[in-house]
């Protein structure tokens, strides 16, 4: 868990400010920003299937992490989603976990990920 994503910091998380520091903060709350949030939620939900959880966007302000059994936690920024998922699913949210990678691999057409060009 990182203090950088503290609830009371008031600092936009780097994933929320687009790709250009100091410029893209201007469009925070705009149409593209909301579309990106929507897209983010969809992508994360594909990952969270592995953990038996899902998230919803709450008023473009926070994310609600829910378990299939109805437990939920509200978090403001993306990094805190992983903490909530661990809390709910009782397993580490680790992108290097071989079981998670196998799960993701199973959701995609077979490709040679180790192949080099």
């Amino acid at each position: 868990m990182c203090g950088f994503c503290a609830v009371f910091s008031g600092i936009p998380h780097w994933t929320e400010t687009g790709t250009n520091a100091g410029e893209s903060e201007r469009v925070s709350g705009g149409r593209d920003w909301r579309l990106t949030r929507q897209e983010r939620v969809g992508l994360i939900n594909r990952i969270l299937e592995f953990y038996g959880c899902k998230i919803d966007d709450w008023m473009a302000e926070s994310y609600v992490v829910r378990s299939l059994r109805g437990r939920s936690e509200i978090v403001p920024y993306l990094p805190q989603i992983w903490l909530a998922v661990e809390d709910i699913a009782k397993k580490p949210a680790d992108p290097l976990d071989p079981e998670l990678l196998n799960f993701l691999r199973g959701k995609m057409p077979a490709v040679d990920l180790a192949g080099s060009s």
């Binding site: 008031g10 992983w82 992108p95």
Partner: protein
């Protein structure tokens, strides 16, 4: 709104006990590039600082509830900078254009970087410049072996300055240089022969300096290419990891554009679980739908706001990401990011991993 490159840069000079930080700083302060600089030091040591604007930092650290040392707010540093700022605004001290912070010899630079990158009051007026780490050529290898602080100071550096090379055997200096390159392939290693030391390059050539136009990124990438060639010369083995260190650096290269949203998801998840072992991540990304390259720069759990370069530094349009990690497998990181990217319909299978 203040644009990023209008912010006042804060440079950090760090290095283990007795490695020559203050001597280097004194030399640097004579350079015209630092004519209008303020200096913050933790304590007045044996070597005095010859500069008109030197303030001390009182030790006052706030450890956030996360308990992770890299996410510690250095409240003393924040206060010292804000006091300087107040005096500057009131005209009590000259208007400085840069700040240089000299750490103690046992300092972990991460909390300093975290404070400068994330504090709400500081981040709208100041930005992090380069991290300059002095390494004693005589004792450097032993210190890297025996002291985590020395290791950390070397791995987070943008510039590694070898000191006391006149007292060390050339073979030892070469060995130390190789060790430092293995630890931190993206940092420039320079020898402090003071008459010839390029102070301008140490200080002004930072990532966000607009006058450099991406030269800093081009330098990282040149280092990575040199390292790749060196690997090929050693029968394809990762020669940079031969020292048996738990810490090593490598560069991932992706041919095709990366999805920015997925990259954010992936990196936050990686840093959530492995942030303490991702000592540094920095690179240049070809982001789908974005014409100009996006620079990322992170230290452990801390990620700098992403930044666009005005143009690509060369004809190579591939995404290249340098990692310095402890006990993390390169192949697993490579595979994980590629898989995540495919979630978004991306096809960024790696083309190479140096």
């Amino acid at each position: 709104m203040t644009t990023y490159n209008e912010l006042i840069p804060i440079f950090v000079v760090t290095g283990f006990l007795g490695s020559g930080k203050t001597t280097l700083l004194n030399h640097m302060l004579k350079h015209p590039a630092l004519r209008n600089a303020a200096v913050l030091i933790n304590e007045f040591g044996e070597v005095g600082i010859d500069h008109q604007l030197v303030e001390t930092i009182d030790k006052d650290t706030v450890l956030l509830s996360s308990g992770c040392i890299c996410c510690t707010i250095r409240d003393d540093l924040k206060k010292a900078i804000l006091e300087l700022d107040e005096k500057r605004v009131q005209g009590i001290i000259p208007a400085y254009e840069r700040i240089v912070v000299e750490t103690t010899g046992l300092a972990d630079p991460s909390p300093i970087m975290y404070t400068l990158m994330s504090d709400t009051q500081l981040r709208y007026h100041y930005r992090l410049g380069t991290i300059i780490t002095t390494v004693d050529a005589v004792n450097g290898i032993t210190q890297l072996d025996d002291f985590d602080e020395a290791l950390k100071q070397a791995t987070v550096a943008d510039r590694l300055v070898l000191t006391k090379t006149d007292l060390a055997a050339p073979a030892d200096t070469s060995r130390l240089t190789a060790r430092l390159k293995a630890l931190n392939m993206a940092a420039d290693v320079v020898v402090a022969q003071f008459g010839a030391l390029d102070v301008e390059a140490l200080l002004s050539a930072d990532l966000y300096d607009p006058s450099r136009k991406g030269k800093e990124v081009a330098r990282w990438l040149a280092e990575e290419e040199r390292a790749e060639l060196a690997d090929h010369e050693h029968d394809g083995h990762l020669d940079r990891n031969r020292h048996g260190s738990r810490i090593h650096s490598f560069c991932l290269i992706y041919d095709k554009p990366l999805d920015w949203t997925v990259f954010g998801i992936w990196l936050t998840m990686l840093l959530h679980t492995h942030g303490q072992d991702v000592l540094r991540v920095k690179g240049i990304l070809n982001v789908a739908g974005v014409d100009t390259p996006v620079v990322i720069n992170g230290v452990q759990h801390i990620v700098h706001s992403p930044f666009h370069l005005a143009a690509w530094p060369d004809d190579d349009r591939r995404s290249r990401i340098v990692f310095i990690v402890r006990d993390l497998a390169q192949a697993r990181i490579l595979e994980s990011l590629a898989l995540f990217n495919r979630l978004a319909g991306g096809d960024a299978d790696r083309s190479a991993a140096a």
